[in-house]
Structure formats: structure tokens, C-alpha cells
Subunit: 238 residues, 6 copies
């Protein structure tokens, strides 16, 4: 019966306490996750905080950005008091800024090299910010799908727990911009703006899916502060 059951799957914490409390037992290790949201909903912050949590515990990590420069990422982390420059100097962290055009053109190679990098670096957490910018580079739909499919497969095989960020669809906050990635991932977090009667726009997060995990299905308010993302799992958005 359910009481006696003990999951055998090793699990980790995201590092956002309010959100971690909503997930029973934690995220299964090596899951491929995606955070979907509009600009400014905190996707990059989420990714940085996810890495910072691992780094603090002595894990190694990789941050791949297609949107900003390495320096901008360091600035943001440092501004928050997360010592990403120190982690980088001590070879615990690699921040890589890739040109999405080049990445798209050499995805074959990257698919080969990334697992090597991850293994050599012994990285336990990886962030790719954002997968939408990679997807955008393909005009041909089936090409995009097969490339993204193969890329996510190689990430899964590399044995790292990964957080992708993705732009949201213009009309449906629960859908990614290109509508593929949520089907290829093990976990989906939906970050969205709530514009109600009040003139203040609020932020809310919903865990849409985590394979092999029992999680809350509530939509919870959160804020982005200097300290990162703060989910109020006791509060109610409506």
C-alpha cells in the first residue's frame, strides 16, 4: 500500500524553497526541465538560482546563454551576491555564451561535445537560456523538431539535471513559443503574469508536470527580489 512505499529514484532540490515545498521528495535527478514564461517573468533568474543552489552544495554546473553576454550573466549573479566569478575561477562553474546562429549551424558538433564537457566537468546541473532562441533559428518546422529532439535526447543521455528556459506563446501562457519543448521534457514550470482587476501585475507559477513526482497543482504567487525568486506557497493568487 502507498504508506509503505519508498521511492528509489534519487532526487534533488531546485533551490527555491517555496517551490521545493510544492514537490514531494524533490525533482528526480537527471530530469530535463523547462521554465516557460514571457519576458521578465524571471526565467533567467530561476536558472541562475537553480545553479547557485547546486554550487553552494559543492556541485559543478554549466550555464549556457544564447541571449546575453558572459559578462552580463556574471553582473546579474554578482549583483545578487551569488559569487559566480569565484565559482568560475575555481573551475566549479562554466558560463558559456553562444551565438544562436552559430549554435544552430554547428548543433551536430555541440551535441557531440556537450556530453564530453559535462562529463569532464562532472557537472550535475546545467541551464540553457533560452531554447527558444535556438528554435527560432530554424525556419523549417520539421528540421526544428528533429534538431531540438536530438538535442534534448543528448542532454538526457549526458546524465545532468537540466533546466531549459523557453519563451511563452503569445496567447497561451501554458504553451511554449514553438509548442514542442513541453512535450520533450520531464518537468514543466509555467511562469506567468496575472493581470486582474487590480492595476498591479503579479507573477504566478504553476508546476504543470513532473514525471515520477507528486506535486501541488496550485498556482502560487512569487516575487523577484534582489535575493532571487521567492514563491509564496502559503498565499493564493486569486
Amino acid at each position: 500500500d502507498e504508506e509503505d512505499y519508498e521511492s528509489e529514484i534519487p532526487r534533488i532540490d531546485l533551490g527555491i524553497s517555496g517551490l521545493d515545498n510544492m514537490i514531494q521528495g524533490g525533482i528526480p535527478e537527471r530530469h530535463l526541465m523547462v521554465s516557460i514564461g514571457s519576458p521578465g517573468t524571471g526565467k533567467t533568474t530561476f536558472g541562475l538560482q537553480f545553479l547557485h543552489h547546486g554550487l553552494q552544495q559543492g556541485e559543478s554546473a554549466v550555464f549556457i546563454t544564447l541571449e546575453q553576454s558572459r559578462e552580463a550573466i556574471l553582473d546579474t549573479a554578482n549583483e545578487r551576491g551569488w559569487k559566480f566569478d569565484r565559482y568560475e575561477r575555481e573551475d566549479q562553474l562554466a558560463i558559456v555564451d553562444l551565438d544562436p546562429v552559430e549554435m544552430a549551424n554547428s548543433l551536430d558538433n555541440i551535441r557531440g561535445e556537450l556530453p564530453v564537457l559535462i562529463r569532464e566537468f562532472d557537472a550535475e546541473r546545467l541551464v540553457l537560456d533560452s531554447v527558444s532562441l535556438l528554435e527560432m533559428m530554424y525556419d523549417d518546422q520539421s528540421k526544428r523538431r528533429t534538431e531540438v529532439f536530438d538535442f534534448t535526447r543528448s542532454l538526457k543521455e549526458a546524465g545532468v539535471t537540466t533546466m531549459l528556459t523557453s519563451e511563452a506563446d503569445d496567447e497561451n501562457p501554458y504553451t511554449s513559443r514553438h509548442g514542442i519543448i513541453e512535450y520533450l521534457t520531464d518537468a514543466v514550470f509555467v511562469l506567468q503574469y496575472v493581470r486582474g482587476d487590480a492595476s498591479e501585475t503579479r507573477l504566478a507559477v504553476e508546476i504543470q508536470k513532473i514525471r515520477n513526482a507528486n506535486h501541488s497543482r496550485a498556482t502560487k504567487p512569487y516575487e523577484i527580489t534582489l535575493d532571487g525568486i521567492d514563491v509564496y506557497e502559503q498565499a493564493s493568487i486569486f
Copy 2:
């Protein structure tokens, strides 16, 4: 008159008791069914549970996944206490993970080999998770249609009761992503999120169609637990 009538069609249970209670007499054997739903609505769980029910009764079964690895499927089943590894060892179950790109490219062959496999294996239940990933591989609409049409036809002819899973349309939960499969199948189950006034997202299932069966047309709440899908046919979603 209707009272005296006795259906001559052999029927089976899905293995989800709440849902089976909503179908008078059961699902006609050899039906081709589809479960339509967004990510995390439990399509894969539905498929696994459908097979597990048959396996428990000594039937043989095939699970074809285009989305996950064989190992991931085994993990999920084992986590739930469904002994898929044992069934596999005892040749009662075959779990096949196919690359959707390759599957699309060699669908002609697969169409030929699958019925052979099913017959040799004497499989009575089959799951394909998901047909959307196969459909996605074709850019050309008419090509997609004819391929999917021919594929479903070969499944029907193979004499197995089949559950396909399909992504839902972004805007209409009653429509599959590519809008074809619901017209080619004998039974359609719609799994959807219900986001009402409450801040908790709920899950609800509706039987949209079962050829040659009298079924409830109610939309019923369900939950996904460690034990699988639990449909509350006594409760009301609204």
C-alpha cells in the same frame, strides 16, 4: 426491443475502474483508441495502466514509446509497483523505444513488421506514446495524413486493442494537435486541465466517443497518484 438485446461484440476493461464504470459493457476488443491531453495530464500513465491491467490477467502487451527511453518507462512503472521488468523478462511484455525520425523514415517497414510482431507475440494490448511525435515528423500535410491513415489501418488489421496518446491542440482541448487522429480512431478520451476560480488546477476526463458502446457523457474529475489514474465517477467537476 432493447431490453432483450445482447451485444455480440467481445469487450474488455481499460483497467481504470472509475472510467470502466462509465462504459456499458466495456470497450469492444480490437478498438483503436486515442487519449488526447496536454503535457502532464497523464496520458503515459493511462497507457501504462491499460497495459498493466492486461498483463495482470495474463495477456501479452507491447509499449512503443517515441518520447522516452525504455529505461525511463521501466522506472516509472516500477516506481508504481507495476512489475514491468518481470513481465518483460517473462516475454509477456515488449517495451520498444523508437526514434521518431527513424520511425517516420521507415514507417513502410514498420507497418509491415508491427503486425508480425503483434502476432508472434500474441499481443492483446498495444500502446503508442505518442502519435503526435510521429505526426510532427511530416511537414507535408497530405503526406502526414496518408501515412497516419495507413499506419492506423495496419494497427486495426493487426487484431490488437490499441491506445494511442496524442497531444492536444493549444486552444481546443477536444482536438488533437494535428486534428486527424480523432477521426481515424474508434474511441476518443479527452484529458484536460480545468482552471476555474480556485487557484488549484484540476484534471478532468470525458469520453467523447466509443463506437458501438453506450457510455456516459459526463466530464469527471481524476487524480494521478502513485497508484496511477483514479477517476471519480461519483464526483462532479463543476
Copy 3:
């Protein structure tokens, strides 16, 4: 004045009494009709019942299916106690299952042969289930239109009363999937799901158009039972 007027057009009954009551005088003979609906709304049942009504009166009939096998159609009719196998043996009924791909490729021939078949068979009622599957086979819009246009014209000229079934548009239940057939037919029946406040989905039918006939414009509830389609022309859907 209207009182004295007597229509000179010969008319027939559909065979669904609730619906026939909504049509003054009946359907003009040789009309080309279409039933538009989502999966499971009962289009195929409507078609079978329409034929059965004619068969019972000694008429000959043809059922062309692009979606199911001949056997599946016979099973469905037999399950309902409609002796389609007997009618077929006695050469009063022809059930033809066509592959839509082949039908599309040889539509020229079919257009030529169908009227011959109808005449030789002396068929008074014909069903094509469904015209959408035929339409789907053409990617090129103008090709689709001209083919469908020519095909419906040949049906009209063949001198048979015809019921086509058509999938509904995803967003507008009053529109067919490809948006052509409702303009080429003499009569349009709209079958739709009504999902209101109650958690039970209901079925409703509206007669949108019958050339040269005075008909009710009400939307009426119906049910599909073992006996076929039952329209409650006294009840109200709202």
C-alpha cells in the same frame, strides 16, 4: 395564396422521426445533403439509419465508407438489429470501403463509375462517410475545390438522394472542416456537442438549410442509443 399551394416536388423521409417532424413535407428527392459534426456526434449512425429507413421500404441503397472497413460497418448495423448483411446478400444494399488515397487518385474514374453503379443498382439512397477524408487528400486548395465540386455534381446528376458526412471545423460547429461542402449541398444538418454549466455533455441538432423546404430552425437535443438517433423535437436544449 399559401393555403392552396401544393408542392409538386416528390419528397422522402430521413427515417429519424423527430427530425422528419421538423421538416414540412419531407426532403425533396435527389437532394444532396450533408451532416456536419465532431467525432462521436453520430454522423455515421445518421447515415446508416437514413439508409435503413429506405431499405425497410424496399429501396436500394449504397454506403461508401472511407473511414472504416466493410466489416466494421456491418458490425455496427447488426449490433443495432438492422439486417445489413441480409440486405447485402439480397442485393438491395452495397457497402463499399474505399481507401481515401486511392479514391482521391482515381476520382475521375469513380465519378464516371458511380452513376453507372447507382443506375444499375437502382439505388435511391446513398451515403458517403466522410467527404472530409476525401477532401483531406488534396493539399492544393483549388484542386480540392474543383474535385469536390465535380464530384458533388456527378452525385446530383446520378439521381440519388445522398447524405454526405463531414467533420466540423475545430472552432465553429456550423462550418465544415474545409468550408466548401456546405455551399455545394442542398441541405445542411449541424450535429454538435453542447457543453454548458452542467458537467454532462449533450448532443443537439439544427437544420441549417434545406432548399425548397420549410423547416424548423430550432436546435433540438438528441441521443444516440442502441436504436440509433433519437431527436427530441418537443424538448429544449437550453
Copy 4:
């Protein structure tokens, strides 16, 4: 001042008294008009009645149908007690059924011949049922526009008062299917279904535009009876 003003433009009646009452002074002669509506809203009936009104007054008329056969049009008119067969025999009326495919292919010729026919026949009223079927024959948008544009221009120059019928857009009843014709015509009538709280679908007409005419902007209910279209300009649709 406005009181003394007397329009110098010769005007005619449509022949639908309720509608004519909504137009001050009548329709300017030689106007190119369009009736936009879904299937069954009475576009063909409107066109027939418009011609019948002229025929009764001794005018000559032409009815071009792309949708039905000459015989079907005669049947409909005769059923209503409008003696179209007599008018045809007495050379006051020409009913022409054209194949839209052929019409599209030889539109250049038709554009040349139509004015000749109109002049020889001395036709004062013309109906084309429907312009949408002609528009459908062109896949290339700019080709469609220029062809339709040139065709309407030749009709305007032919010196006949013309009523075109057009299918409505699926989503917007005030827009024609291809969205061009309402901009090329002098007058636009919108026929639409009103599906409100009541379960009875009603019909309503609005005059959207008549160049050089002062007209009501009310939406008025109408019915189609054996006698044709009956607009209740005293009643209210809401």
C-alpha cells in the same frame, strides 16, 4: 437646404417590401450590390425575388448560377409560383448555369460577352449566384483580386443593376468569404443567423452600405416563406 433637395439619380425597388421601406428613394439604378450570408440565409431566394420584381414590371433579366443547375433554379422559382419558365420562353429571362471552373478559365471571354448579352437582351437586372464560387477558383490572391476587380468593373459598365451573392466569413458575418467584394460594390446587404438565448435560430438583415442613398441602419428580422423573403421592418431582433 435639405428639404428642397430632389435627388436626380434614377432609382429602383428591390422587390422585398420591408427592405425597400428601409431605403429612402430606392436603390440607384445600375448599382452593383452584394448580399453576404451563410448557407441557408436566403441569398439565392433574395436574388430570385429581385429578378421576379423586375420581370413582373416587364423588365428583362439574367440569372447566372454557378452553384445549381438551370433546372433546380426553375424548380425553386416555380415552387414559389414565380413563372420563370414562362418568362424564359417569352425571352424576358435568361437563366445560365455556368461551371465555375470553366468560368474562371474563360473569364476574359465572359467579361467581353456578358455586356453584349446584357445589351442585346436589354437586361435591367442581373444576378450572379455566387461570386464566392468564382473567387474560390483562384488560389493566387492577387490573381483573384484583379480578376474579380475587372469582372465587377465590366458589370458596372454594362449598365445593369446587379445583385451578387457571397458567402460570409466563418467568423465575421459582416465580411465576405474572401474579403474583397464588399469593397468593390455600391451596396452591401448582410444576412445573418442570430443564435441567442432562445433555442430557435432567427434570421436578420442589415443594410451595411448603399452609395448615394439614405437607409436605415437597423438590424431587422426576416423569414423565408414559400412567398420569398419577408423583412419585418417594424419588429426588433433583440
Copy 5:
């Protein structure tokens, strides 16, 4: 401070008094304006009235129509008691009807000749009715944009105050049909139908933009009468 400020930009009146009252100081001379509206909202009337106001003050003017014949425009103006035929005879007004197909094909030339015509004619007001018909002639989006862009630039350089008319988008009355022209113009007037609870459709105008002018942002009702457009800037549409 604002009180002492005196605009140095020369300004003109449109000639629709209600609307002119909503604009502080008037329209800056040489502005390129656009009126966006559905068929029958009075765009052509607006343009004619705009010219008539200038003509009455002794200015010269040009009216280019792509939709109607020169004669039809004269008829409409004459019907209203605006002596366009006299102005034309006295060389104060030029009415030019262009075939949109030809205009699109020779836009290069026209772009060269129009400024010459304007200068020789010393035209102070110009109307082009409608820019949408010109835009429609291009299938290729970027071609359309660059052509329209270059054309509007040549109009701006010609030193004339111009009113373009444009069809509205089917779904959004604030957007032009092709969605470009409102971004290339100095002033945007939105003419729209208001279909509320009442069964009478009303007309309403909003000034969306006038560069370098302070204007009301209210939506005001207007009517089209024999005397032209009448804006009720004291009334309220809701």
C-alpha cells in the same frame, strides 16, 4: 511655460466641424493622414468633404480613386450639392480614376509624375481612395511594404496635405487591412460601426493620432447625411 506657447506650425481645418473642434489648432499642413473604416463608414464621403472644404476656400485639389469611376464620384458630389463638376471645369479640381492593377504596375512612374502634377496644379489637398486597393495588388509582403513606403514618402515630399482612405482589419477596427499604413502616416482617424444592445448600428469616430497636435481622445458618434459627415462632439457613444 505652456500658456505663452504659440505653435509655429501652419495648420488647416478638415472641413468637418465636429471633428475640427476636437483638434486644438487644426491639422498641421502637409500632413499625411489616413481614415480607416469598414465599407459604408463614410471614408469616401470624408475625403470628398475634406476636398470640398478646401475648394470652397479657393484651394486646388486632387481626388484619385481606385474604386469608382470619375463619373460616380462626380454624381456623389453633385448629389450633395458640392459643385465638383464646376471646380473641375475651372481647373481647380482634378478627379483621376486609376485602375489599381495599372497603378501597381506603374507605381514607379506615378511616384515621379504625381509630385509634378501636384506642383503644376498647385494642389493643397489630395485624396487617395483607397490605399488598400493599391496594397492588395501586391502579394509579396516586403514588396508591398517598400512600394507603399516609397509612395507615401513621395506624397510627403510633394508638399500637399493628403487624406488616404483604408479598409479596416476584419477583426480589429483600429488596424488597417494590411497593417502598415497607420505607421507611415502622421494622423490616423478610426471610423467604426458600433453594434451594441440596441438593434440600430451606429457610427463612431476616434482620432487615434495626430503628430504635433493636441486632440481629444474621445470616441464620438457621427452620421452620414446628404450634407456629408456630421460628428456630434457633444454627444456620447456609450
Copy 6:
């Protein structure tokens, strides 16, 4: 802890006091910003005012317009009492009007020359009005993305604080017309029309995103007056 924290990022003011008050500490220097809005929402005014604020403090600035002529920009600024002509004469300001067609064709060069110009000119603020007109010049989606991506990257590297203006999507005011630029920028301002029950259209601004800044998430009313944009951060839009 947060109290002691002092941001090390140098920051600037926009020059719109109400808006600046909504941003804690100011905009990080060298940010790439975008203002999204429909025609007439004040995007150009925003850009001019942003430059004027810097010019008043002795900074150098560049204004690139793709929509208007250099003269028109000078007129608008002068009308407002902002001495752009003087700043230009004194080589503190460069106003450049580019033909979007030419800009698109020579974007490679411009990408090279712009940083040089910025450095030589020592510009601290730059406005590009509007990026949508540049984006419009590319029909090919992936071409557009890579061009815009490379262009924004070169702006970021040039070390100038930049404000882009962008047209809004027709249906979603929070989305730019082409849906890319909001993902490539560090800050997003949404300018929109609020059309409520009242017949007066109002203007409202929301700060959707500023990387590395704590900002209000309220939607605040603003007006455009002769003095520029005035945000009422104390008032409420609803």
C-alpha cells in the same frame, strides 16, 4: 542582508519623472530598451524626451529615424521647446533619417559603422525609431531574426544606452509586432490604449522588465502634452 546592499551598476534616469520614480535606482547604463505601442501611444515622443534629458545634462546623443524625415523630427522637438537644432549645430546631437529599405540592404555595413559613430561622437544615448520598420523589410523569418539579433548585439557592444521603439502586435499589446525584440532587450516598456466603459480612450504604461532593477509592476496612466510624456505614478488606471 538586503539593507546593506549597494548596487555596483551605474545607472541613469530616463527623463520621464513619473516613470523614473517607478524604477529603484534607475536604468542600468548601456541597457538596450524597447518601448512597445500602437500608433499614437507616444513612442517617438518617449524617445525624444529620453534624449533630451541626456542632452540637457551635457551628454551626446544619436536619433535614428526610419519613419520620418530629419526635418519632421526637428519640428516636433522644436515645437516642444527642446532645442534639438541647437544641440545639432553644437555637435552634441546627430539626427539621422535612414531609408528602411536601404538600411536593411546595408545592415552589415551599418552594424560596422554605428559603433564607430557612437564612439567618435561619444554618444551616451541612442534612439532607433522604429525597429519594426527595419524588421518589416525581411520576409524571411529566420533572416529577420538573425539580422535583428546581430544588430542588437552590435548596439549592446557599442556601449551606449539605447531605446528602440516597436509597433505592438494587433491583438496583444504586450507583444511586439514581430515578437522577437522583447526577448533580445534588457528592458521592456509597454505603452497601450485603454478603452473601457468610458468613451474616452486613455493611455497607460507598464514596465514589463528591467534586468537588474527593482521596479514597480503597476500599470499607470500617462498623457502626452506639449511638454512630452507625463506619467501619473500616483493615479490608477482602473
